[in-house]
Amino acid sequence: MVPISWYLLLAALLFAIGTVGALTRRNGITIFLSIELMLNSVNLTLIAYSRLLGDHTGQLVVLFVLAVAAAEAAVGLALFIAVFRHRRTIDLNRVNLLRW
């Protein structure tokens, strides 16, 4: 029997890896992928707690998170395409017109 804390530790580790990726990379797509990684670590935590508490709520929230992630990916990628058309780059260090 695998203790539930292992799953939670794994989720925390994945979340940390995702955070490092989102903060460090310059490529917009890779940042997006790191954010998806963070969302997935949250999903894992939710399912783990759903198992621990014997409740379906965790699984259902994961369902909604899945749908929201899909919506976010669609709109985010459309934004990337639009930005790319104008600026010819996805490097977020160069898409900086609103920077101070």
Partner: protein, 194 residues
Amino acid sequence: MIETLVFLVFAGLAVGSALLVVLHRNPVYSTVSLVVTLVSIAVLFVLLGAPFIGALQVLVYTGAIVVLFLFVVMLLNIGREEIAGERSLLQKGAAAAGAGIFLLMGAGLLWRQTSSVTLDELSPELVSLRALAGELFARYLLTFELVGLLLLVAVIAATVLAARTRPGERLSLDRPFAAEVDDEPSRPAAAEER
């Protein structure tokens, strides 16, 4: 015992491919590594008594969302990221922040979990689809409908954002896909823009 083995294998796979996602320079490899991570996490879902959510994760996340990512990466021909020296300090700081977050969360979790919590056996009630669906369409019906609405809005938003406009022309509400309409074929500027 088999459960522990499966967990260790797929947890290791998940962490390894997550590191690849974050560290690899080529965005296509990052995306493919994300696929491996997502499938490993789906296996862990099944291990935790949520086979339908695991199957849905593979079907929706890897089967559609990440394909969309790959499509955009290939369409825009996003190349490998150049290595720049100025990145190193920021990178170290971010890595330290990440490790710090992990340690804080891990320590906090383990502190709470030290009182040995024993898991109940996996009840068929938890795994069954009927119970899951019953709760989804009873308690969470409003949320379900709202998520449907959210997806509709996302579809419209994505379509409008990615539609092409000629320079100087704006998307108008009565002709939102103006770039598709074959008007003014004799304009030289239009041919040049293509």
